[in-house]
Amino acid sequence: MEFGPHLVLAILEGAVGAAVLALTALGLSLVFGVMRVVNVAHGEFFMLGAVMAWFVAAAIGGHPAVGFIAALVIAPLVAGVIAMAADWLVLKRVNYDPEATIVATIGLLYIMQQSALMLYGPEARPVEAPFNSRIALPWVEWGEAGLQLYYPWGFGTTSYKLFVIVAAVVLLLAFWAFLSRTRFGLVMRATQLDRETALAFGIPVETVYALVFGLGAALAALAAVLIVPIQQAHYLMGGDPLLLSFIVVIIGGLGSIRGTIVAALLIGMSDGVISVFFSPTLAKILATLLVALVLVFRPQGLYGKTAT
């Protein structure tokens, strides 16, 4: 029993990464799909979620679960409100021009990052998980003496990691229902398809844009609150999720929700597995190579539509 158990562990790690990545990338994909804005500051909203989770947990104290649940509500709200303010103060002023918004969100990235450094500091700080019991995993193998059960076999996962996976799945399903079943979801999809006609049919496009930008940031912040008990909060932590989200969104097809989820699973899983067996750097190299190949051979992404 060498390779098999390690693979199971790697897949579990990968699934945690994929779950968080799916939520983060969904925010980026949503903002691009509806607003045609490439949000370079997306990773900073992720960082903001993690840092806010630490502040909330530290301020509330008591049992870690209380702080964690409060952070799950407060951090996405704060990130959403800041994003809506940024939309109103900056993106709206440059008329959502594709090039200008890239430069504007780069500026936003540095403002948020340096503000976090000033207010939160350069340390990496942990947030305690609400629960974190170890779960030993059984392993079954065909050995010399027939079928053998190894339990416990030394490695395992934690209940919190399983919770992250389940929570992400629940949130993704809830988001899908929100998008396809609610009036605001319908308004968002109509705005994405044809901004001008949406406007002619009474849809306040600017308000929709502000809410979508806030929602995208809130999704990143929510993903960060889920991961921060495993990863710690740091003011430079936004880089990796930004890179991986872009990779996911490009591979999945810009603006395609389904493509984003599928690509997040693919990239998150392979990132986890390759990081365990080889190195995290190799995982990033391969993911970036995959992006290059997708851009060359299928520029619209897996589920993207070619412009008509």
Partner: protein, 231 residues
């Protein structure tokens, strides 16, 4: 009903309309005739608030709708069938109609009335709009505009590329609405359709409104058509 007074508008720095005026009355079909690029579509977009006016104003029953933000104009009772239909192609037929109902603040009763006018759409409620045939797409674009329960309906070349039976259906719909007292502004290239439907015709040339005549005047004086449409 609708009064467009000396409006100037365009796309960015390019001005298309230079002091255009027109008037549409309740229970009447006003046709806009003119060459390609004369400013007919731009006029409709300006009425919908989709282009900023640099001069002039637009009144609907005395309310200055050109002072409202674009997303509040539909709620004033203005339905719009844009050129090329512009359906929300990834949304279903039902969702496209729902957008119209939301725009006008209308309920299921309106939805039923609209679907009664286009029974074919009722059979295809769950179908994606982009997969409908051309005629069905035009029905849906019209149904979406009627879901607003408009007192003013703007139609931009609604019969473009349709087969004759579908053109008849659109024409019947326009006649029905006119009888109900809706003011209709129709952009149409085909002279025979204009002559059959219009109560008045306003010619548009180089972003300006020229003569406004009745179809009978037009029949007796073909020179106008030669002058402004060039056929």
């Amino acid at each position: 009903m609708l009064e467009v007074q000396d409006i100037e508008a365009g796309y960015g720095p390019v001005r298309v309309l230079h002091g255009l005026s027109l008037e549409a009355r309740a229970g009447e079909v006003l046709c806009l005739l003119g060459r390609n690029g004369a400013g007919k579509t731009t006029t409709l977009k300006a009425i919908m608030g989709l282009l900023p006016l640099t001069a002039g104003r637009i009144l609907l029953d005395g309310t200055e709708i050109s002072a409202l933000p674009a997303h509040r104009i539909a709620r004033q009772g203005v339905g719009y069938v844009p050129q090329g239909r512009r359906l929300f192609s990834e949304l279903t037929v039902a969702e496209n109609i729902e957008i119209g109902l939301m725009a006008g603040g209308k309920d299921a009763g309106t939805r039923d009335r609209v679907l009664d006018m286009f029974p074919r759409l009722r059979e295809r409620l769950a179908q994606r709009a982009g997969t409908l045939s051309g005629g069905e797409q035009q029905m849906l674009a019209t149904a979406r505009a009627l879901a607003v329960e408009p007192r003013l309906l703007l139609l931009d070349e609604p019969t473009e590329g349709l087969q004759p039976s579908m053109i008849d259906l659109i024409r019947e719909t326009v006649v029905t609405l006119r009888a109900k007292g809706v003011a209709i502004v129709l952009v149409e290239q085909r002279i025979d359709a204009v002559l059959a439907l219009a109560d008045r015709v306003t010619f548009i040339e180089n972003g300006n409104s020229r003569e406004t005549v009745t179809p009978s005047e037009l029949k007796s004086d073909r020179a106008l058509i030669h002058k402004y449409v060039g056929v």
